[in-house]
Symmetry: C2
Subunit: 151 residues, 2 copies
């Protein structure tokens, strides 16, 4: 089904979902954040058909989330690299990861984990704060429509 | 296209994406977090066909992300309410919102905004930290495969 485009929606969540594309695109971004760069590596890691992977990568490049560049080893391959815009999707991936860890695994069930590279320690759950550092509870938020005064 | 199920993947990101379903489901969750409870309200807000909305809500209930309950006003309607598991998707929505705001809007373009309910102030960008409060840069992370020692 062709989705209605949300690219010009005034809600940043809707616009973000439209730009990213679909779940496969987020898994491609996950693998790119972990260092995957070549078409064949993405294909092997994700188990995706070539035509589907190819369409997803093309859309990510069109959206400015990835770019292609010559292979680092001087071979004829092109490599897919996250742009700054793409790299900043890391927090979306981490929010999904933390929700998945806490909500979708049985105690003791094997899960891949994210740790800090320096000390190998677990990272803290993401938290909502005001700009001046006050911690917010989930119910402490309000959505302001576009062009509302204040803030 | 029927997706391969990722419900038993060892990666929490893949499992999270599988459980949520699709973009529409995240927009339903966004609206539920903002207070929407009735089928007709979700339909009006999202502009979705009844059968599509109905299938998405059913999947969210099956996944334990939403539950139904009798209408608060005593009428015959059922209302859709986020469970605790569903409420904790708020951080995923906020990560998408912050990425959308910073990457997909022109300066000055009208956007709906999230503020803190008490003072109406902007909320801080989500940040990566270790459990003991050290702020991490995007490159400071490493993925550990399941059953790896340490952590």
């Amino acid at each position: 089904m062709k989705r209605k485009s949300l690219a010009h929606d005034c809600c940043p969540v809707a616009r973000a979902l439209d730009a990213i594309g679909d779940w496969w695109s987020l898994l491609i971004i996950r693998d790119a954040l972990a260092g995957t760069r070549r078409f064949s590596e993405f294909q092997r890691g994700l188990g995706l058909a070539r035509n589907i992977l190819s369409a997803r990568l093309r859309k990510l490049v069109e959206q400015g989330i990835m770019r292609t560049e010559p292979a680092a080893d001087g071979s004829a391959y092109r490599e897919y690299v996250l742009t700054e815009k793409g790299n900043s999707l890391q927090l979306v991936i981490i929010a999904l990861l933390q929700w998945g860890e806490s909500s979708l695994f049985e105690p003791g069930e094997p899960a891949s984990r994210l740790v800090d590279r320096l000390e190998g320690k677990a990272i803290a759950p993401l938290r909502l704060m005001t700009l001046d550092g006050r911690i917010l509870a989930p119910g402490d938020l309000r959505v302001m429509p576009p062009n509302a005064p204040g803030g």
